[in-house]
Symmetry: C2
Subunit: 244 residues, 2 copies
């Protein structure tokens, strides 16, 4: 019996945004590992062991998956969105590097619909031109680097997508982000606060940079910032394909 | 009878990367519009009219979809990847803006697995930290803007994904891109040339910036560039979650 690890993205929430590839891996799995709310999306069945774990134990979770696969288990690590975008895939490769005894592991990454693309689709096409994705959490990088990247992205007139804009433990980061954007961009730039996209709680709120306030974001929100040409047409927001 | 337009992303090529949402829209459609090779992925059936069109007629195609929907048709515009990333969604909103008589149209964007995420998954997790997506085609923007964005992205130490890196009509653009990266980044930076991802022709070629040559890319290639910390572990390439 040959074990494997698949790191699967379950998309932003709605079941019809889970790829058939991810569903097939779950159907073959003996073990499913992941953060509690993502494991809760997997239906229990005979022969399947669910291993829900708390947040911020990504490396332990990854090492556990590699250990199970080495004994023949077929393990799916579940992420929301896409596992390669601010999710579990990098943690698995960090664990692989830290534990050379698992070097022969069969590891596959199964892509998914990441939050920024679902949010953009719900709003229109605000990421229709060059854009950046930035994780605003400073748990794993210094704030100075986040600030530097925000300025580079703004000076390049990139559209932007922000993951993890705000949490209870660091409420001030997103306020600083808005202040940096105000130094670098016109107050007419459009900002989309996309909360709980594709779930029953979905809410899309589009304002100008001048109107934006820090409390418009929480940890269930992805924030999209337009470039200088991003505009409204009817109830949609889009970024034109052309730039000058 | 109420018509609608859905702009659907069919993913990078393999059928198990098409979302159930996109498949359901195709099952309800009366008309499918798109670039010839994408329409060819839709099975013919009674009651469905296929409208394959040539490349570079995006605005005509979008206006045609709005016109059909106004007469009650259920129209799916098919894109590869995600329709909001360098694909048809922005063109539809441009057409909506140009034709106010269609302002009441029911338009939905159905997200898909965009090429850079499928390529990243095939390679490991090279986009596991902050990254930029840049379209290297200068059909719709001046080369000077592309160069500026490349420099801003490199100075921000973003990982990068390049769409449309090279075509027969502009073979020199990607050579210029490599030269700019060599001015801004260490020659040890990893570059992944991901060709025809998820198809039988898939080929993943990882080299250093110092080793990269322009002919490693063609129009079926997505190019991923690591940040300063991107590394190999076994046959995988990943970017750690932490940065200093």
């Amino acid at each position: 019996m040959t074990g494997w690890v698949a790191i699967a993205g379950l998309g932003p929430g709605r079941e019809d945004l889970v790829t058939p590839e991810a569903s097939a891996a779950l159907a073959e799995a003996t073990d499913v590992i992941g953060y509690i709310p993502y494991v809760a999306r997997v239906a229990p069945r005979d022969g399947l062991t669910l291993h829900p774990t708390d947040n911020r134990v990504e490396l332990d979770r990854a090492a556990h998956a590699l250990e199970l696969a080495a004994t023949g288990a077929r393990v799916v690590i579940v992420s929301s969105g896409d596992p390669g975008v601010f999710a579990m895939a990098s943690a698995v490769f960090e664990a692989l590097e830290a534990h050379p005894k698992y070097a022969a592991s069969d590891i596959r990454v199964l892509p998914g619909i990441t939050a920024m693309l679902a949010a953009a689709a719900a709003a229109g096409a605000p990421l229709g031109h060059d854009f950046c994705a930035i994780n605003l959490s400073d748990n794993l990088k210094p704030w100075a680097l986040i600030e530097h990247r925000l300025r580079m992205a703004a000076r390049g007139d990139f559209a932007m997508a922000f993951y993890n804009p705000r949490s209870k433990s660091r409420p001030e980061g997103f306020e600083k982000t808005l202040n940096i954007l105000r130094e670098e961009c016109s107050p007419e730039h459009l900002i989309i606060f996309a909360r709980a996209v594709s779930t029953p709680d979905q809410a899309i709120n589009t304002v100008t940079l001048g109107e934006a306030t820090p409390d418009m974001a929480d940890m269930r929100t992805v924030v999209l910032v337009g470039n200088a040409a991003t505009r409204r047409v009817g109830r949609y927001v889009y970024t034109p394909r052309s730039a000058t």
